[in-house]
């Protein structure tokens, strides 16, 4: 049983690694063949699918782990503030930091003064 378990872990680890690494090798060879190093050489669907995956991950990550009116409102507020700070500063770290702080403060106060 233990051996089967470890074989499974190794198969999953190896399979996951190959799914991360092999497509890169394929694309690098394709770019080399065409002696180009730009995104223009990539199929359009691939350049769209990448950002679309990020958007999909954004969508799923917005759902709070414990769903309630409070956590949804805090999520909306945190996201709005994050977007606002990004628009103002155009940086990565600060909008995330302030967004998390606003989300945390909203949850904290909502728990102190619950609206029922």
């Amino acid at each position: 049983m233990i051996n089967t378990l470890w074989l499974a872990i190794i198969a999953i680890a190896l399979g996951t690694y190959l799914m991360r690494a092999l497509p890169l090798v394929w694309m690098t060879r394709k770019l080399d063949k065409n002696k180009s190093n730009t995104t223009e050489e990539m199929p359009i669907w691939l350049t769209v699918l990448g950002p679309a995956m990020i958007a999909a991950m954004f969508g799923t990550s917005l759902i709070p782990s414990s769903q309630s009116i409070t956590t949804w409102l805090a999520t909306a507020l945190g996201a709005l503030v994050t977007a606002g700070i990004w628009y103002w500063k155009r940086s990565l770290g600060l909008p995330v930091l302030i967004g998390v702080m606003i989300y945390g403060i909203s949850i904290y106060f909502a728990r102190l003064y619950p609206i029922y």
Binding site: L5, L7, A8, I9, I10, I12, A13, G15, T16, Y17, M19, R20, A21, L22, P23, L24, V25, W26, T28, L31, N37, M42, W45, L46, V48, L49, G50, P51, A52, M53, I54, A55, A56, M57, F58, G59, T60, S61, L62, I63, S65, S66, A74, T75, G78, A79, T82, A83, W86, S91, L92, G93, P95, V96, G99, V100, Y103, G104, I107, Y108
Partner: protein
């Protein structure tokens, strides 16, 4: 954004570490809960840490321990977890144009998670060729260490931690959507991209709310990509 890169141009490794800091907020709490759940499912501390180190893919690890604990046949466990991780195949090719000719890139691909891809997709084009590998090493190593460290913490002291800091465990995961939002924001500069990404976000959210957690990301991304083609072709025809 360009300004922030210029400030740290001489230390791309540090820039990578700094850029990956928000990821820690998302990774550590999730890794702690993985550590906890894995132990509750009957795995030892060492096994739990090794799973996080070797597999290093959140959703599939949760599914793995749950399926093993429920006594599912091992071949099915392997197939299901690999299916969840199949989304990773589009990440490498998207980054390929920005990668230099170093064999290290291949080894570094172990660290190509969803979030590192999102981060690299924004950052790599802004860096010059020499800086890219150092930046990627810094960012991906910090993320990997956070995941493995968080798992160890969860496996060893998870129960106590959650009891003492319940709010922290609820709040820190918001770093993930906040980070994705910041990574997507610059793409909303044209109508076609705003429509594609806005709809994809909404569709993924709805699919996950319906209970299809694992299908949400690939299905929504595929619909979004199709939508992009439809809008693009319609614009061509109306000309």
């Amino acid at each position: 954004m360009t300004q922030a890169i210029q400030t740290h141009q001489s230390q791309p490794l540090l820039t990578g570490l700094k850029d990956a800091l928000p990821l820690m907020g998302g990774y550590i709490p999730v890794a702690i809960s993985f550590g906890l759940i894995s132990l509750q499912s009957g795995f030892s501390v060492l096994e739990t840490i090794l799973i996080s180190t070797l597999v290093y893919a959140g959703a599939s690890q949760f599914l793995f321990v749950a399926m093993v604990a429920s006594g599912a046949p091992m071949w099915l466990v392997v197939v299901m977890t690999l299916l969840i991780n199949a989304r990773h195949v589009v990440y490498g090719p998207n980054l390929a144009p920005y990668m230099t000719k170093s064999p290290w890139w291949l080894a570094l691909m172990h660290g190509l998670t969803d979030q590192i891809f999102a981060l690299a997709h924004t950052r790599l084009p802004q860096l010059n060729e020499k800086q890219r590998i150092c930046w990627f090493t810094g960012a991906s190593l910090l993320a990997w260490m956070s995941w493995v460290g968080g798992t160890a913490l969860g496996a060893i002291a998870g129960g106590e931690l959650i009891n003492q800091w319940p709010l922290l465990a609820d709040v820190l995961p918001f770093a993930l959507p906040a980070l994705f939002l910041v990574l997507l924001a610059p793409k909303f500069n044209t109508k076609i991209w705003a429509l594609t990404l806005g709809c994809t976000t909404l569709i993924a959210l709805i699919i996950k709310l319906q209970g299809f957690s694992n299908a949400a990301i690939p299905v929504a991304a595929l619909i979004g990509t199709l939508l992009f083609y439809v809008v693009k072709n319609q614009a061509k025809w109306s000309k």
